[in-house]
């Protein structure tokens, strides 16, 4: 269920990392692609695509 505020996906995901070891496990389960994505140099063809879904 959603609250009246837009919690924002990125802001929700980062909370798992903030939560420490147990949270990190959740974070990793969300998939490597999601973790490494923001830090990976993306090929020009991929930029602008919605590759997360």
């Amino acid at each position: 269920m959603l609250a009246y505020l837009d919690a924002a996906s990125g802001s929700m995901i980062v909370q798992a990392i903030v939560a420490g070891a147990a949270g990190a496990a959740v974070f990793f389960k969300l998939g490597w692609r999601r973790i490494t994505g923001p830090f990976r140099r993306r090929p020009a063809a991929e930029v602008g695509e919605q590759d997360e879904r």
Binding site: A8, G10, M12, Q15, I17, P38, E52
Partner: protein, 469 residues
């Protein structure tokens, strides 16, 4: 005749709405909001948080207390809150005030999480100060926790509380103009661009700023609903939400602002006042306010609060407004130590006071539109506004008159060393009208001067005046 007014900032959350009626602060709850409140009222921390002064005192009142016209069909329950004497906004707080407010917010959230509750937001504006004590005022924020979900208010907390604190603690950049600049605070992606190189090693930056900013950019198109489901499937739990909040609390508690030297910091030591002059001034303020039953006093340019403290002996509540946040922060910390609930430090540039902000410029009222003071102190203030700020004396007197309260004002002669120092920065003759006789003529045209006293030095004069209608 009832005088009902809806709180202009209370429309974002449909479950709960605040309205003022004949001086009372009332809150209407929908069915959903009432169910959340029942869980809150039954939680052991609820009464304790009110007793500790961390949560605004709240009682249930009959729904009939709200006029049918406001109630409509949506509201099924009514609450009444204790009134906050003067609401100041986060851009009028100092670093220590914002940090203490953030800690109260997080403490309440942690207590809530132990009672199957969480908060639906994380907004600095959900707190107010009573003197030097932060109070959480948005009882409608509490909602029953839904297992598997992260804190919905985390982003808002970052933007309006954590980021401003990090900016000032790590970069020595004052946060107030940023919060005043945007009512939703600082965006993760914007702050991430400011924290570069070794900044990222500083407490809280890597996770809450760099990673948060990157994630925000990456998933800006994702649907929150889908992300929530994925997180739940991956094992996110209420325990993890608790761990997140506890980690943020630990971070906030250790943030500090490395004090920079300030022009005013040693004001009391370097000013040309003698102890005797200070005593004259204190006695004059006391005499002007004694027995007048003032509810609200504005001490404008109040600096370290010396005369706010004098005023507080003769008035219910004093707002000490000053543009120097370092001096105010020191005042706040000493008031906090004393447990003071009567003097509110407010960071305000009197030459550029807080305007109305938010939706239609009405969500957060302009500083001088919020309450009418019964008395105004303007001590050693006008020469700064007139000489440094170039505000004409007639404008200043008009402004003081419009504030509406009785006035205790000091005029600093151009020959006084403090005024002379300011005049030395301006072309000769530019402030030719800045003279005592000009000021007195202007003052007497708008006020009845009740009392006046000249300092032994002959370069400063105090006036007690009441505005003429």
């Amino acid at each position: 005749m009832s005088d009902l007014e809806l709180e202009p900032a209370s429309f974002r959350d449909p479950a709960s709405t605040v309205a003022y009626l004949d001086g009372r602060v009332l809150r209407g709850l929908t069915k959903e909001g009432a169910a959340d409140f029942d869980t809150l009222a039954a939680a052991p921390f609820f009464a304790k948080a009110m007793d500790d002064g961390k949560l605004v005192r709240t009682t249930q009142v009959p729904i009939e207390d709200l006029p049918q016209s406001v109630r409509g069909d949506a509201w099924v329950r009514a609450l009444e809150h204790e009134r906050i004497p003067f609401v100041s906004y986060p851009y009028e707080w100092t670093f220590s005030m914002l940090r203490d407010a953030a800690l109260v917010h997080l403490d309440l959230l942690l207590a809530a999480l132990d009672a199957d509750l969480t908060m639906k937001d994380g907004y600095a504006y959900n707190l107010a100060f009573v003197g030097a004590r932060p109070v959480f005022i948005d009882v409608g924020s509490f909602e029953r926790v839904r297992p598997g979900e992260p804190w919905a208010g985390y982003r808002q907390f970052c933007q309006t509380m954590l980021y401003p604190l990090l900016l000032q603690a790590h970069k020595d950049v004052r946060f107030q103009p940023w919060l005043r600049g945007a009512i939703q605070g600082i965006q993760p992606q914007d702050l991430a661009k400011l924290f570069t190189g070794t900044d990222k090693m500083k407490p809280g930056v890597l996770k809450h700023v760099s990673l948060h900013g990157a994630m925000d950019q990456r998933y800006s198109k994702s649907r929150a609903q889908d992300t929530q489901k994925e997180l739940k499937a991956a094992g996110f739990s209420t325990e993890l939400q608790k761990a997140t909040v506890a980690a943020i609390r630990k971070l906030v508690a250790k943030l500090d602002w490395g004090r920079a030297a300030s022009e005013w910091n040693d004001y009391q030591k370097t000013s040309t006042y003698t102890d005797a002059e200070r005593e004259i001034k204190a006695a004059f303020v006391a005499k002007a306010l004694q027995g007048k039953g003032a509810k609200l006093v504005f001490d404008l340019g109040g600096n370290d609060g010396t005369y706010s403290r004098v005023a507080a002996n003769h008035a219910a509540y004093v707002v000490c407004a000053d543009g120097d946040d370092l001096v105010l922060d020191g005042l706040y910390r000493s008031l906090r130590q004393e447990g003071n609930r009567q003097i509110l430090p407010a960071h305000l540039d009197l030459g550029d006071p807080s305007p109305g902000l938010g939706w239609r410029g009405r969500e957060r009222a302009a500083f001088f539109d919020r309450s009418r003071p019964d008395a105004v102190l303007a001590l050693a203030l006008l020469h700064h506004l007139a000489i440094t700020g170039n505000v004409p004396l007639a404008e200043l007197v008009d402004w003081l008159h419009a504030l509406g309260g009785r006035l205790v004002v000091e005029f600093v002669d151009p020959t006084d060393p403090m005024a002379d120092r300011l005049l030395a920065n301006k072309p000769p003759g530019m402030h030719g009208d800045y003279r005592r006789e000009v000021f007195e003529r202007l003052l007497e045209s708008r006020f009845d001067v009740v009392d006046r006293e000249e300092f032994p030095s002959g370069t400063r004069t105090l006036y007690h005046a009441t505005p003429r209608r």
